[in-house]
């Protein structure tokens, strides 16, 4: 008579921020950035395989990486690293009894730091690309 509601397809609910709060956003971007970084890690390891093939193969690849499109992609990785890493710091802190009742503020501070870091990297990376 009664219907069990949780179903496997509900995984989309992980990424549904409607009517949810700050903590949910933290959860969403942590999960998305985490999954994104796993994907990046796989690609990164494969690409680095070119190092073993000698200077020419690798440097050719690096040259391609210096186009604005790939720099933007790399910037995305940098952003994910900062968001996921700093959010990880938040989870470590709250899990060990620090700032558990201030998690919202903690999250916002962390996002500000991450934002600043991404801007710094963007400036650095695009400046180099332009100058190079």
């Amino acid at each position: 008579m009664s219907e069990q509601t949780p179903k496997a397809v509900n995984w989309m609910k992980w990424f549904d921020p409607r009517s949810r709060g700050v903590g949910m956003w933290a959860f969403i971007i942590n999960r998305l950035s985490g999954l994104g970084l796993v994907l990046y890690l796989v690609l990164h390891l494969i690409m680095l395989g070119k190092l073993a093939k000698g200077p020419q193969a690798y440097d050719q690849f690096i040259a391609m990486m210096k186009t604005p499109f790939w720099i933007a992609g790399e910037l995305l990785v940098v952003a994910a690293v900062f968001i996921h890493g700093l959010n990880g710091v938040r989870i470590i802190l709250t899990s060990f009894g620090i700032g558990g009742d201030r998690q919202k503020q903690l999250f916002l501070i962390i996002m500000l730091v991450a934002g600043a870091a991404v801007i710094f990297f963007a400036w650095k990376m695009f400046a180099h690309a332009g100058g190079g």
Partner: protein, 244 residues
């Protein structure tokens, strides 16, 4: 008694309907309300004057029983203490749905017996039969225990949790919080909370704490629980006897 003349707002209720063997749909009701009365009053009036087949749960009407949790415009609310003013305005629409992550009995009523069973399994006590607090305030060393006795088992935290949405076996924020009430873990309780479906399933979305109507702060309790569990397990691995 004089009629209540303060029904100054008109609200459109869009209510989730589900009868056994029939497809779910939404029904619309126009209700005149007092902005300072509670959403449950509006729903009860719909039942009394507009549609006697409407099924919803309620009992105490003052937030001690935890029966009347519902989704109000997608957000978990204990409807007996949520005023119209706090969620809408004159002429506004309220979408009312049953809590998520529980089996729906019919319309707005859900079956919470599964949660009760889990609360029972972790030895949570619903009413603290003692004067652990003085009227000057709570004795500090009993704060934890008392705050957990404030849990009214309304299920809002379980409805709001993104993990409960995908894993019905996740024992849920209320239960993880409640497990800490006795102060020490029995072996059974330890095995329940330190399990795949226990404290480790939480991914810190803090939605439970955000929707808790009763000051329990389940998210903080889960964080605290993990610390305790890691310490307990590490100590055991190193062969250190626990103080009993």
């Amino acid at each position: 008694m004089t009629e209540n003349k303060k029904y100054t707002w008109n609200i459109i209720f869009k209510i989730f309907r589900k009868k056994a063997g029939q497809p779910a749909h939404y029904d619309q009701f126009d209700v005149a309300v007092n902005p300072d009365e509670y959403i449950l009053d509006g729903i009860e009036r719909i039942w009394a004057y507009q549609d006697r087949s409407l099924v919803f749960s309620h009992a105490c009407h003052h937030s001690t029983c935890g029966a009347c949790g519902m989704l109000v415009n997608g957000e978990e609310k204990l409807t007996c203490i949520t005023t119209f003013r706090s969620v809408t305005r004159n002429g506004g629409t309220l979408r009312i749905e049953p809590l998520r992550n529980f089996p729906v009995i019919s319309d707005l009523a859900v079956d919470m017996t599964g949660m009760f069973e889990r609360m029972h399994a972790v030895s949570h006590r619903p009413v603290i039969a003692d004067t652990f607090e003085t009227s000057r305030g709570r004795k500090k060393e009993r704060e934890d225990l008392l705050r957990l006795a404030d849990c009214i088992e309304c299920g809002l935290c379980i409805s709001a949790c993104p993990i409960s949405a995908t894993s019905a076996d996740y024992i849920g924020p209320a239960v993880l919080a409640g497990a800490q009430q006795p102060g020490t873990f029995g072996e059974n309780v330890l095995n329940i909370v330190d399990s795949e479906d226990g404290a480790w399933r939480c991914h810190s979305a803090y939605e439970c704490t955000r929707v808790c109507p009763s000051n329990v702060d389940p998210a903080w309790r889960i964080m605290d629980l993990r610390k305790k569990l890691v310490l307990t397990r590490v100590k055991r691995m190193m062969g250190i006897k626990e103080k009993t």
